[in-house]
């Protein structure tokens, strides 16, 4: 576990991952967007409007996935005080928040023509809005303390507590009456989406996942380098002060 706490080793791993993940991302986006926007058939009920799904659904999945990743990293922070875990959770938060915003915005744009409303306070929509607030709360909290360790601890605790929201989001459409329809892909009796529409969706989901991976390793890497620069500056500063004194 702590093998990966070595910054140089992590940067080496990140540099290996980046071109692969980036390459897959670009390919998947090219194929996925072509299939989703041009090739895939229109829905029998929603006609062309169904194409919003290819952005909305992967964004929603990634909003949940990123939060789960952040919560697990936060557990590693609290249990093992793992230094890279805090950096990865911190790096993941703004990405996850962006996915959540994309999910809410596209959902709203989709809701108006289909349901007849931009927004309702049903269990699914409300719990996803809470997810956004959890992300924002985490970002605010981790930056609110002068001591990184205290901020990290408080924010990690928030991330873990907020993880209780993940099953609520997933099952909100089954537990309560909602305007949002139940799950179409991850269901016990198989997907309720025609394969011609499912494949573009899966490829877009891969593209989104690779986007998370590339931005995440880049952000962690830059945090590590920033910490290194800070250390050098501090020691330089110390030497100068010593020299003067």
């Amino acid at each position: 576990m702590h093998r990966y706490a070595n910054p140089s080793r992590f940067i080496r791993i990140a540099d290996t991952i980046f071109p692969w993940a980036g390459g897959i991302m670009i390919t998947a986006f090219a194929i996925g967007l072509y299939l989703a926007l041009l090739k895939s058939p229109a829905d029998y009920q929603q006609s062309e409007m169904v194409r919003i799904m290819y952005i909305h659904v992967p964004a929603a999945w990634m909003a949940l996935f990123t939060y789960a990743f952040m919560a697990l990293s936060s557990a590693a922070v609290l249990i093992w005080k793992h230094p890279i875990a805090l950096l990865s959770a911190k790096a993941a938060a703004p990405i996850g928040a962006s996915f959540t915003v994309i999910c809410l915005a596209t959902g709203s744009l989709w809701g108006k023509p289909m349901w007849g409303t931009w927004w309702v306070w049903d269990a699914r929509l409300t719990s996803v809005l809470i997810l956004l607030f959890l992300y924002l709360g985490y970002i605010a909290l981790i930056n609110a303390f002068d001591e990184t360790e205290r901020g990290g601890k408080a924010a990690s605790l928030l991330a873990l507590v907020g993880a209780v929201n993940l099953p609520i989001i997933k099952y909100s459409v089954d537990w309560w009456n909602t305007l949002h329809q139940p799950a179409s892909v991850f269901r016990l009796d198989g997907p309720a989406i025609h394969p011609d529409m499912l494949w573009p969706l899966i490829i877009m989901a891969i593209a989104f996942k690779m986007f998370l991976l590339t931005t995440l390793v880049t952000r962690i890497k830059s945090e590590l380098i920033a910490a290194r620069v800070q250390n050098v500056q501090r020691s330089l500063h110390g030497n100068l002060a010593d020299g003067r004194g």
């Binding site: 829905d43 609290l78 249990i79 349901w115 309702v120 309720a192 529409m197």
Partner: protein, 166 residues
């Protein structure tokens, strides 16, 4: 000697932290489940016609009723904006009237949520109507083929062309 003692102590601290976290999260999950269970009535977005039977709702109370628009129940008045349709959940049903523009996805056999007030046990005056779509996605040709071969299940998914109001 002291080193291995120290290592043991940190290891014990670590497993203690794991248990504390697990215990804390379990309690939190339990508390959340209880709260959500207790609040169920206000979390549900709409009542089904059967729910309406079970509870007494006063006419002043603004509520939402949801279900499928019963096949063949959609009637349009001459003014073109006054609609009447029946909301059913398979067991019970209620007639709703609505004066306004229906969402594009409003169809017989499709999900609908109407917000408004009960006039009496039989009639619901809707002030707002939302269309609820189901989790099935497919191309039009596939839907048509399914209908032709008789594999079309439930009342859902009848097209607008076949479900125009009388």
């Amino acid at each position: 000697m002291t080193d291995s003692l120290g290592l043991k102590r940190t290891r014990r601290q670590k497993s203690q932290r794991v248990y504390t976290l697990l215990f804390g999260l379990t309690m939190l999950g339990l508390a959340t489940a209880l709260v959500l269970n207790a609040l169920e009535d206000s979390i549900v977005f709409f009542y089904s016609p059967s729910d309406l039977r079970e509870r007494s709702i006063s006419p002043e109370q603004r509520i939402r009723v949801g279900g499928l628009v019963e096949l063949g129940s959609w009637k349009k008045a001459k003014s073109q904006t006054v609609h009447e349709f029946t909301v059913t959940d398979g067991k019970n049903k209620i007639t709703a009237t609505f004066n306004g523009i229906l969402p594009d996805l409003f169809r017989e056999g499709q999900g609908v949520i109407a917000e408004g007030r009960l006039k009496n046990n039989r009639l619901f005056i809707a002030e707002e109507v939302l269309a609820k779509h189901d989790e099935n996605y497919m191309p039009r040709e596939v839907a048509d083929a399914l209908k032709k071969s008789g594999h079309w299940n439930k009342g859902s998914g009848s097209r607008r062309s076949s479900g125009e109001p009388k």
